[in-house]
Amino acid sequence: MTKYIIKRIILIIPILLGVSFLVFTILSFTPGDPASIILGNGADQEAIDQLNKELGYDRPFIERYLSYVSDIALHLDFGFSYRTRLPIRQELIDRLPVSLKLAFFAVILACAIGIPVGILTAVKQYSALDTAPTLTALVFAAFPTFWLGMILLYVFSLRLGWLPSYGAMGWYHFILPVVGLGLPEAATLMRFTRSSMLETVRQDYIRTARSKGAPERRIIWKHAFKNALIPIVTIIGVDFAALMGDACATEVLYSMPGLCTMIINGIRQKDVPSVMGATLLLTALCALVVLLVDIVYAYIDPRIAAKYSGRRG
């Protein structure tokens, strides 16, 4: 198992290289060279050329890419911001916790609501306890997170004045963003849990468990839920990347100093190193989440764990 995990972590490296190359290439299409952006409109051509040379912008594309990657790999150096001239690494370190907290608690909230309610609706299929949550979830799953966020902001911040409408200073700053981000995700997760449970409940081993007289509670939790959990965990992993997108809009809506706002500010100010750094960090994060999901698989499904270990030889 440990060997498998190490192998998977090593496999992330080529993906990150590919991603960095792709993003680096796309962003090098951005019009304008760094020096003219740094020096502004009034600067004369000589000074611009001089600074571009200092920044190494006169070198060919491949050389620039390789030095960018090796700086990150060897010194964790993400370069300097064109705008503030400060190292990108420090900004990433400052902003990462905000994005992490937002995504983490939103996923926790989504699981805490989505999975139990999904099980409930599957167990009580066709009753009022099924239709009411299912219909609610249908609408909530279609809610753009930023719109739900706006409504929450209006009600709880502007009208009632209970919670702050911007920033990320204390834990209470995270309540509205996490709820706005987590509820639509909870609805998606609930719908998925429901269909996964319904699928499992129909299997032969459930009938076997019933016929041998196992108590209903034990059938649901021990036999059905454990088997239904595998696709549910998959969907959490798959949805994480999509959650990132919604988190972006949420960070903008609540003016949170996270990685997404860093990218967007970077785009507005044509600050390519900021955009690159934050994009790479977020991508690495998503790759780690996918890895985490694969490891969790092994813990909930002994068959998969056996496969991992078997592959070693």
Binding site: I15, L22, S28, P144, F146, M244, I267, V275
Partner: protein, 301 residues
């Protein structure tokens, strides 16, 4: 007793030629779809909104969308302005209809583009063994960038305008299309009838067009419908964060972004475009669910 059965299940009398009636698949699917109440509600409502957003603007001049009248800002609904006016005194209903047209058009065009490029890549990867590895490893890399970051990178490189937004969200969605269609084609490609066609000397492109694609049509249609709503949401959120359609052009996400500044004065402006987005995505999801069940009743629960 040996009986000859026709495809429709009726017994053929002795001596009569065995007539296999060609099954009409589309009719059968439509019949199953029509029986699905949720899907039909979704379809009818979607048709209404779709027609409203695409036909009504033909009768409303675009100037109604941009004409400002500051003195009449935040007006309540009246006969002249059925949905009131916005912060520049522009007619909100016209903006909603034009905005919906933009949002939906982006979703539809982006889904078509994504399907065309991603779908073909997936199809060729599945059909030609040699292409499978290179294409899919490239798609793996593409897929490991969260869609929003991909879209943002493209928009930042090419600039924010309508075409680039479509290009950005279509590219970001491409890996999903590629993987699904590859899986669908894979399940068809090693069937005997494909082998038979190949043995008969049919060319690869013809096999793909005549035998492979029609058998993957269900997956393609369902996938495209489902993705249309996702792409509309993506377009709206891209505009919301200011990286998509730019004001004053109306688009539901961009309108919400503008309304954010005027929450204190009026809630109308932030409610209406949001309702539009929720309505359209819910309807498309209902239609998609219905289509999935109609194409493959086994999946229904």
């Amino acid at each position: 007793m040996a009986t000859n059965l026709t495809a429709s299940g009726t017994e053929a009398g002795p001596g009569e030629p065995v007539a296999f009636k060609k099954q009409n698949n589309a009719k059968e699917i439509w019949r199953r779809f029509r029986k699905n109440r949720n899907a039909m509600v979704g379809l009818v409502l979607f048709a209404i909104v779709f027609l409203g957003c695409f036909v009504a603007p033909m009768f409303i001049p675009y100037s109604a969308v941009t004409k400002q009248n500051i003195r009449n800002k935040f007006a309540s609904p009246s006969l002249a302005h059925v949905a009131g006016t916005d912060h520049f005194g522009r007619d909100e209903l016209s903006r909603l209809l034009y905005g919906g047209r933009t949002t939906m058009a982006i979703g539809i065009v982006a889904a078509a583009m994504s399907l065309l490029v991603g779908g073909s890549l997936g199809m060729f990867a599945a059909y030609y063994d040699k292409l499978d590895n290179p294409i899919m490893r490239f798609i793996d890399i593409l897929a490991s960038i969260p869609p929003i970051l991909m879209a943002l990178a493209i928009v930042s490189a090419l600039g924010t305008n309508l075409q680039n937004v479509v290009l950005a969200i279509a590219t970001a969605r491409m890996p999903a299309f590629c993987r699904v269609i590859r899986a669908a084609v894979l399940s068809v490609a090693d069937q005997e009838y494909i082998e038979a066609a190949r043995a008969g000397g049919t060319g690869d492109l013809r096999i793909l067009a005549k035998h492979v694609l029609p058998n993957c049509l269900g997956t393609i249609i369902v996938q495209t419908t489902m993705n249309m709503s996702l792409l509309m949401l993506a377009a709206a959120s891209l505009s919301f964060i200011g990286m998509g359609v730019q004001p004053p052009a109306p688009e539901w996400g961009a309108m919400l972004s503008e309304a954010r500044e005027y929450m204190r004065q009026t809630t109308m402006l932030m409610i209406l475009p949001g309702i539009g987005i929720v309505m359209v995505t819910t309807q498309l999801n209902l239609i998609g669910d219905g289509l999935r069940d109609a194409f493959d009743p086994r999946l229904k629960n």
